[in-house]
């Protein structure tokens, strides 16, 4: 008996009890919808977080924030370590930086701004992907580049904060620095305090030679001033402190005694190399952090969460399967005379079993497909409606690109597969019962 003929039998059988079949399909569809929608929350949140992480441009980066020596003592990263890092396989470049120990007030023309200042190694920054919107990288001690948002922070000197904005809280046109910053000279004062808290000040002059590209991450401001190591050394020579601190190093706990770096970042050629290199460095005693490692942990966490949600959703399908079991058992009981006749004229028990399994599979598949379609609609509605509800009820806004529910193709396959397996299992016992029907009993023959 071929599939087409078995399918014809199933269709004939389904027509006999349309309402019962409809209710069973409905229960299966509801179970599938519940499973998909529930799991889609896990998938949605995971996707949103991953998307957020992937938008960062530091996926190939390993942050190294210290070293633990054989005695278990914490050490800063020094040039010796940098040389070691640069000798390692798969290391593309080693970025290192120090924060200037004070945030100076920068002056240009009649404008001023207080900005963080970082001393960086520009060749490594270039290799790691730092690009400029305008200008060039510094080649001399008195040359700097500024962050993309540096000029936005500049305000006219001696102006009250309240006078900067209109009633609509928009910066007044006349308070903005409208000239090109490239080629301009920035002046800033560096302070040095002695043991008696007497302050000595000296003024430095630097030329802005470039503006750094806007940060990739949404909402990140870059108002920094990037100087090179030569200038930092000049400032440190004046302050006689590490990284240009205002106060003597003896007064600041934990200040390194030799040339060291506040932040060091290793860049690999590929994302795949990050994990191996992180493991190697951790084994060597370095304190490390990488987005790739965080992603791995995040993926692990969400995989467990998604598996849990799918498991809970499966319970709904299991409940629906009771309906399928019931429907199929009733179908077998009702059709016992027909089954008896078929067996009497030579139907193979295996064929009878296959017909009933096909019927329960069809109910499962139909339920899964309807459930999937409904789940897609619900998912769409949730993603559309949730931000509106949150805004209306909590007066809060979800981050841009936030996706509460996501139904990837693999979730679809998992749900349909679970639904099919459960329905086949629940239909298998009635199907087996059909094969065990006694011909004589079914035909009510005299013995």
């Amino acid at each position: 008996m071929n599939f087409k003929d078995k399918w014809r039998f199933v269709q004939q059988n389904l027509k006999k009890n349309r309402v019962r079949i409809f209710m069973t399909v409905l229960a299966t569809a509801m179970g599938t919808t519940f499973l998909i929608v529930l799991a889609s929350v896990g998938f949605g949140l995971h996707d949103t977080l991953l998307k957020d992480i992937m938008e960062q441009d530091n996926l190939n980066e390993i942050s190294i924030y210290g070293y633990e020596n054989d005695k278990g003592e914490y050490q800063y990263i020094t040039n010796q370590h940098i040389e070691h890092f640069e000798s390692l396989n798969n290391v593309k470049t080693v970025r290192r930086m120090n924060y200037l120990g004070q945030a100076p007030n920068y002056h240009v023309d009649n404008f001023e701004v207080t900005a963080e200042t970082q001393s960086v190694y520009f060749p490594a920054e270039q290799q790691a992907g730092m690009t400029l919107t305008e200008g060039n990288f510094p080649t001399q001690a008195n040359q700097v580049v500024v962050g993309y948002h540096f000029t936005e922070g500049l305000i006219p000197q001696d102006m009250d904060y309240d006078d900067l904005y209109t009633d609509d809280e928009v910066r007044k046109e006349e308070t903005l620095f409208s000239e090109n910053i490239i080629g301009k000279t920035l002046t800033f004062d560096i302070e040095k305090f002695d043991e008696n808290d007497d302050v000595e000040t000296t003024t430095f002059e630097v030329e802005v030679v470039g503006i750094v590209e806007e940060p990739v991450q949404r909402g990140w401001d870059d108002s920094n001033v990037y100087i090179n190591d030569m200038l930092l050394n000049e400032i440190s020579a004046f302050t006689e402190t590490h990284a240009g601190n205002r106060y003597p190093d003896d007064d600041i706990e934990g200040t390194p005694t030799e040339k060291s770096y506040d932040n060091v970042y290793l860049h690999t050629h590929t994302l795949e190399q990050v994990q191996d290199l992180t493991t190697q460095l951790t084994d060597e005693g370095y304190y490390t952090y990488s987005v790739a490692t965080e992603m791995k942990q995040l993926n692990m966490l969400f995989t467990i969460a998604k598996a849990g949600l799918i498991f809970i959703g499966t319970i709904a399908i299991l409940i629906a399967s009771i309906g399928i079991y019931n429907t199929m058992t009733m179908a077998v009981t009702e059709r016992a005379p027909d089954i008896g006749i078929m067996k009497a004229i030579g139907a193979n028990p295996r064929t009878i079993k296959q017909i009933f399994l096909l019927e329960s599979s069809y109910i499962g598949l139909l339920g899964a497909l309807i459930g999937t379609a409904v789940a897609y609609l619900i998912s769409f509605a949730v993603n559309l409606g949730l931000p509106l509800i949150l805004e209306a009820v909590f007066e809060d806004q979800l981050p841009e690109g936030f996706q509460f529910s996501s139904i990837p193709l693999r979730l679809l396959f998992i749900a349909v597969a679970i639904c099919l397996i459960v329905t086949i299992i629940s239909g298998s016992r009635p199907a087996k019962k059909a094969t065990q029907i006694d011909v004589l009993q079914a035909m009510k023959r005299e013995i």
Binding site: G346, R350, R445
Partner: protein, 230 residues
């Protein structure tokens, strides 16, 4: 064709722990040759239907052997017997045993479907068989829409459709009036002559038994007439 040797059967009755054996057939031996019409006659409860059920494989005998075309069918598994029935035996039942949700055409086509005959071939054979039993005008009628005689003809058509060498008939005229009964018996004789089909007919009616070339009589599970005819 069909050989029955020392066939005995009893049913087990009662609850667990209080079971009793109810003997139905006692050491039956007989044979049926190819192309014969053999009637098995006996009163109600004599064991004639049990004998037919044993030959059909619907129940397994307590002891003895049933050989059909040289094969000992008592050793068959359920699946093997199902295949054997499909290919070797046609059935005519007293109450027709047609599937009510299927039309006359579909009921006749059923054995062909079970055998895996192609759709085109099925159509040809089914239409020919409908023609043979004189129901070519009723292919789309459901059993409930046909008379008793017509239903029995559908039942015969279903038994014939795979050209089986043997047809087992259990009280084939039991639900028919005398006029239809005569017509049906004539038709069975015609089929026997035209197609050389072996008929084994169970009946309590002497008139029906007369169409047989031989009659076996069973009384209280014993074969009292026509046994060991080889």
């Amino acid at each position: 064709m069909i050989t029955v040797e020392h066939l005995s059967h009893h049913f087990v009755m009662g609850k667990k722990g209080e079971k009793t054996k109810l003997p139905v057939l006692h050491d039956l031996s007989f044979s049926v040759n190819k192309g014969e019409i053999v009637s098995i006659i006996g009163r109600s409860g004599s064991g004639k239907s049990t004998l037919l059920n044993l030959i059909s494989g619907f129940i397994h005998p307590t002891s003895g052997e049933i050989t059909i075309n040289g094969t000992d069918v008592t050793r068959f598994s359920e699946t093997e017997f199902a295949d054997f029935r499909l290919n070797q035996i046609g059935f005519i039942f007293q109450n027709f045993q047609l599937i009510p949700s299927m039309t006359a055409y579909q009921n006749i086509e059923l054995p062909l479907i079970l055998k895996g005959v192609t759709e085109n071939e099925r159509k040809k054979i089914t239409e020919q068989t409908l023609e043979r039993v004189g129901l070519s005008h009723y292919p789309n009628h459901y059993p409930g829409e046909l008379s008793g005689g017509q239903q029995q003809r559908v039942s015969i058509a279903r038994a014939l459709v795979l050209n089986p060498p043997i047809i087992l008939a259990d009280e084939p005229t039991g639900s028919l009036d005398s006029e239809t009964e005569a017509s049906l018996l004539e038709f069975i004789q015609q089929l026997n002559q035209d197609l050389n089909i072996t008929f084994l007919i169970i009946t309590h009616d002497q008139e029906v038994a007369r169409i047989g070339s031989r009659t076996l009589e069973i009384q209280d599970g014993h074969l009292i007439k026509g046994g060991n005819s080889r």
